[in-house]
């Protein structure tokens, strides 16, 4: 187990309603896991607490010793004075050079690698940002809408590549795409309104690892389960 949260309660200063109340969650096995819920229910706050970027919560947060947790989000930018190639090269460890080439190719960024960040489309920006995180040393990577503005087919390709290339790492993927979450995630942590008890539910996704179409009935059942849980 890399991550465990027990009775997590968090409230932003100068607000009256807490974001979480006695939330419990654990991440037991590596793989592709998801956080799902309506906007404003606390997915990003949860992710930032796990990444150590937000403090002031009560309850217990356990992260396995020396584990590296990275949090990436879709509004991050690269500096503007150089090309994408320059910034990716300068932050890629030598052990990941081969992986870098593969990811650039599979993420569909070969044509824009010599452009500057400001010259990219929103989807390209998000893919570039995700690549540089994937090339870092990490145990758990939280991807907060990291594939927003990327077309459906390419998103699937990217998720499958991540699952194939990093089988021993943990991923927490935040997305509003119900079908994508259901198909590709192992564990889905569903965030609900603060009034609902319990505030979060954990469901199992289909954890598909290839392009094969999943069993239709199973997919529909899981999608309905997730929808009903929200």
């Amino acid at each position: 187990m890399i991550l465990s949260l027990t009775n997590l309660t968090f409230q932003y200063p100068d607000t009256e309603i807490p974001v979480f109340r006695t939330l419990n969650f654990s991440l037991d096995s590596p793989g592709f896991h998801a956080l799902f819920g309506a906007s404003g229910v606390g997915k990003t706050s949860f992710a930032r607490i796990v990444a150590g970027e937000l403090t002031g919560f009560s309850g217990q947060l356990y992260i396995k010793d020396k584990s590296i947790v990275l949090y990436s989000y879709n509004q991050e930018r690269l500096p503007g004075w150089g090309t994408i190639r320059h910034f990716i090269d300068s932050t890629t460890p030598s052990s990941m050079i081969e992986m870098k080439k593969q990811l650039i190719d599979i993420f569909g960024l070969s044509d824009c690698i010599n452009l500057r960040f400001s010259q990219l489309s929103l989807g390209q920006k998000n893919r570039v940002n995700l690549i540089r995180y994937l090339l870092q040393e990490f145990d758990l990577l939280i991807m907060d809408e990291s594939l927003a503005n990327v077309d459906e087919r390419l998103r699937e390709t990217i998720i499958l590549k991540i699952k194939e290339s990093f089988p021993d790492r943990y991923f927490l993927y935040i997305s509003h795409n119900l079908m994508e979450i259901t198909k590709f995630s192992d564990t889905i942590l569903i965030f609900r309104d603060i009034e609902k008890i319990p505030q979060t539910l954990t469901l199992k996704g289909l954890d598909i690892a290839s392009r094969e179409m999943p069993d239709r009935d199973r997919l529909e059942t899981t999608v309905l389960e997730v929808m009903n849980a929200c």
Partner: protein, 250 residues
């Protein structure tokens, strides 16, 4: 940009002259108080060359003072960008000193150093330093979270990179602040020359003032305005070139 700046100044200067003439003729003031347009023209023609070199002398001191201020402000601003005790102390001190009229300190500098180049330089630098420092501290202490986040969480952030990111992201602000400080540096130098110096356009204005010669003062003002406009225009042009070279988006 350069032409626009000069044109703007010419319009303002011409408006001022017209106002003076309206005042002169409506109140029937003598040529001794406000000279006639012809007097101003003749005096201007006679002393243009002398005043031109005087203004150039003043501008050169102002430029050196401004360069020193910019370097100092960047050094201190970069050092004070963190919310440490030293950073907070420097910020508080800068705010307090900024609120104090530096010109009032000028006589002390004259007493200690006498008149001359160094005194003019120090006053020019002091007058434009504190506003520059406050702007640069403001820019340097404001994190660009969307860019810096990756470098922070991957432990790749170095102070040089942090400064580069913040300077790049605020390039237009920095150019505006530096360009704007030109006027302060020039004002500082003129004030220094006006109080006690043996050269520069401020010194010439002081002599003209003792002679109650408004024509000379107006000629000096005309040259100061033209020089500042040209210099500011050149700074903005240089800033634009740097921005284009760095691909800074507007």
């Amino acid at each position: 940009m350069l032409a626009r700046r000069v044109l703007q100044f010419l319009i303002v200067f011409a408006s001022g002259l017209i106002f003076l003439m309206i005042l002169k003729y409506s109140l029937t003031l003598s040529d001794y108080v406000i000279p006639s347009p012809l007097d101003i023209w003749h005096t201007g023609k006679d002393i243009l060359t002398v005043y031109f070199f005087d203004t150039l002398n003043t501008l050169s001191v102002a430029i050196i003072g401004q360069i020193i201020s910019v370097f100092l402000a960047f050094s201190v601003g970069i050092g004070a960008r963190k919310s440490t005790f030293a950073g907070s102390f420097i910020k508080a001190a800068a705010y307090n000193i900024q609120a104090y009229p530096i010109v009032a300190v000028a006589p002390i500098i004259f007493i200690l150093l006498g008149d001359g180049f160094i005194t003019r330089l120090i006053i020019a630098a002091m007058i434009c330093y504190f506003p520059l420092l406050l702007s640069i501290i403001g820019i340097m202490s404001e994190p660009v979270t969307d860019i810096e986040h990756f470098y922070n969480v991957t432990s790749r952030m170095r102070w040089q990179l942090e400064v580069k990111i913040r300077a790049f992201e605020n390039m237009h602000k920095l150019i505006t602040v530096i360009s704007g400080s030109t006027t302060l540096a020039m004002a500082g130098t003129i004030v220094a020359e006006f109080i006690a110096a043996d050269r520069g356009i401020g010194h010439s204005i002081r002599i003209a003032l003792y002679q109650s010669d408004l024509s000379r003062i107006l000629t000096a003002l005309f040259l100061i305005g033209i020089f500042i406009s040209v210099y500011q225009g050149m700074l903005e042009w240089a800033g634009e070139r740097i921005g284009n070279r760095w691909h800074v988006s507007n």
